[in-house]
């Protein structure tokens, strides 16, 4: 039995795993204490639970529990990592390096820093979405304090060569922050293997609750200091004040533990589902463009442009499937996806893109249903598309003079 709408948007968020929910529930009611209360059992219980979760989260990414700072989510983690580092090390330099395909939580943080007088290099990416390591090497100067490059991209699932980037940063004495929100729990990610100084993660992308995340902050070789961006009671070793979200953190810990224990099996299963979807779409349709490297990619991600079909109309045609599109019509900005643009995907193909995000609770039956539905709707919309007709008649659409309005 299929349950509609079928959820294929696991890069946007994931459902809470029932085992995670079960772990969280007591911390709303009987064990509601404030982890900072030092004088009674309610507080001690809460603190113990937080410390257990800290270890679970640390274990997922190869960190020491003392290196985990809990936050309200990865947007905050990214802000704290980037602002916290550049404010702290201002004397050393004023230059930050990032990439054009980063999440808005990184890009917009960097834009704010530019307004404050910092200099930021936004590295272009290669057509497959990967950062060019030579371009990165050339961009590093004596004034560079921080490189911030994500481990896995949220739209196209492309995995960046974080081990090489981290090695380069280490060699040049530059801090390396990575937004590992999409990678952690899905593919092996280890802060030591990639020499990260700072790493952002979020519970709701790994079957934990929304509104809780963490920042990994390296404590040894070297010890990284951050200037806090939220002032208050000095929680989280002064780096992030605010009463801890104990139930959320407990759920985050459980979610991280499940991902660590089940990753090998789960990623193989999800990859097989993703490959099945891709194969079925390609068997049923011509003129498909996969956006981003298929080799260096999250197992659950497939981002495809269906040429000559506009993304929002495709979403409307498959309205019993929850996916997202890079089409301008589906975003608030009225601009097609800046990530696809950075790959050099033309705006026309960006308007035609759909992101399929498969996850823990998806099944083969769902894949078969979605593939069949997408093939049928794309065929119907192409019958309606003047562009498809012209392309089939041999018209070179790139050379046409369009009457824009």
């Amino acid at each position: 039995m299929l349950k509609f709408p079928i959820y294929f948007d696991n890069q946007a968020t994931t459902p809470v795993d029932p085992r995670v929910l079960e772990a969280m529930l007591p911390y709303f009611t009987e064990r509601f204490g404030n982890a900072a209360s030092r004088n009674h059992r309610y507080g001690w219980e809460a603190e113990e639970a937080v410390e257990a979760a800290r270890k679970q989260v640390a274990d997922l990414i190869g960190a020491n529990p003392k290196e985990i700072v809990f936050t309200s989510g990865a947007t905050e983690s990214d802000n704290l990592a980037i602002k916290g580092a550049v404010y702290m090390y201002r004397e050393k330099g004023d230059h930050v390096i990032t990439a054009l395909t980063e999440h808005k939580a990184v890009i917009d943080t960097c834009k704010r820093l530019e307004k404050e007088g910092f200099r930021v290099t936004y590295l272009p990416v290669k057509p497959d979405g990967l950062v060019d390591l030579d371009a990165l090497r050339d961009a590093i100067t004596a004034k560079t304090v921080l490189i911030t490059i994500m481990a896995a991209n949220n739209e196209i699932g492309v995995l960046q060569p974080v081990a090489e980037i981290g090695a380069m940063a280490k060699e040049r004495g530059v801090l390396f922050h990575t937004d590992a929100v999409q990678a952690a729990g899905k593919v092996p990610f280890d802060v030591n293997a990639c020499n990260a100084h700072l790493a952002s993660i979020s519970a709701h992308k790994m079957y934990g609750p929304k509104g809780v995340g963490a920042l990994y902050v390296r404590r040894r070789q070297p010890r990284v200091l951050l200037s806090p961006i939220i002032d208050g009671g000095g929680h989280e070793r002064g780096m992030r004040s605010g009463t801890l979200n104990v139930p959320g953190i407990v759920g985050f810990g459980k979610a991280a533990e499940l991902c660590r224990l089940e990753m090998a099996q789960e990623s193989a299963r999800i990859r097989a589902l993703r490959d099945r979807l891709n194969a079925k779409l390609h068997a049923g349709l011509d003129e498909l463009h996969v956006n981003g490297s298929m080799e260096h990619r999250l197992p659950g991600n497939l981002n495809i442009s269906f040429a000559y079909v506009e993304g929002e109309s495709l979403l409307m045609g498959i309205n019993d499937v929850a996916v997202s599109s890079g089409s301008a019509c589906t975003s608030a900005s009225l601009e097609p996806s800046y990530v696809l643009k950075a790959l050099g995907t033309g705006d026309d193909l960006a308007h035609s893109s759909i992101r399929f995000g498969l996850g823990r609770f998806n099944t083969e039956d769902e894949v078969d249903y979605v593939a069949g539905k997408v093939v049928a709707v794309v065929r119907k919309l192409r019958e309606m598309s003047p562009l498809y007709e012209m392309a089939k008649d041999g018209v070179d659409l790139a050379k046409m003079e369009w009457r824009e309005h």
Partner: protein
């Protein structure tokens, strides 16, 4: 985004999808929009030269559901109208009929442009005289 029932109906059951022979002197073709902007409409009319009445209208549209609905509606409205009457169709009529939200008004503008372009093409062919 929530779509009005009429948009959904036109999207699911588009009227008059197809193409007419572009070279035919009684056919006018309008092609407006641009792929980079996410919408392109092709709208065609066949005019009876004796009466000046549009007896056939066809469209093909690359665009969102509202763009498809706007062009589908336009073809419905065009059939049976004279060329002069067709030119009085305003984008605001389409907005009202389909209950388009403000962010989708441009779809109706595109449909009006497509109507004007198709009729201009037909009139130009007529002025050029019967091609031998």
């Amino acid at each position: 985004m929530a779509y009005s029932d009429k948009v959904v109906d036109h999207f699911n059951n588009p009227r008059n999808v197809g193409s007419l022979p572009k070279q035919d002197p009684t056919v006018g073709t309008g092609l407006v929009g641009a792929p980079e902007c996410g919408d392109v409409m092709k709208l065609q009319v066949r005019v009876n030269p004796e009466t000046g009445v549009i007896d056939e209208a066809k469209f093909k549209t690359f665009g969102c559901g509202s763009a498809i609905a706007s062009s589908s509606l336009a073809t419905e409205w065009l059939k049976g109208k004279t060329v002069d009457e067709a030119l009085t169709i305003k984008n605001t009529d389409i907005v009202a009929e389909l209950s388009l939200p403000p962010v989708k008004v441009h779809c109706s503008v595109l449909a009006e442009d497509a109507i004007k372009a198709a009729i201009a093409d037909y009139q130009q062919k007529q002025q050029a005289g019967p091609s031998s």
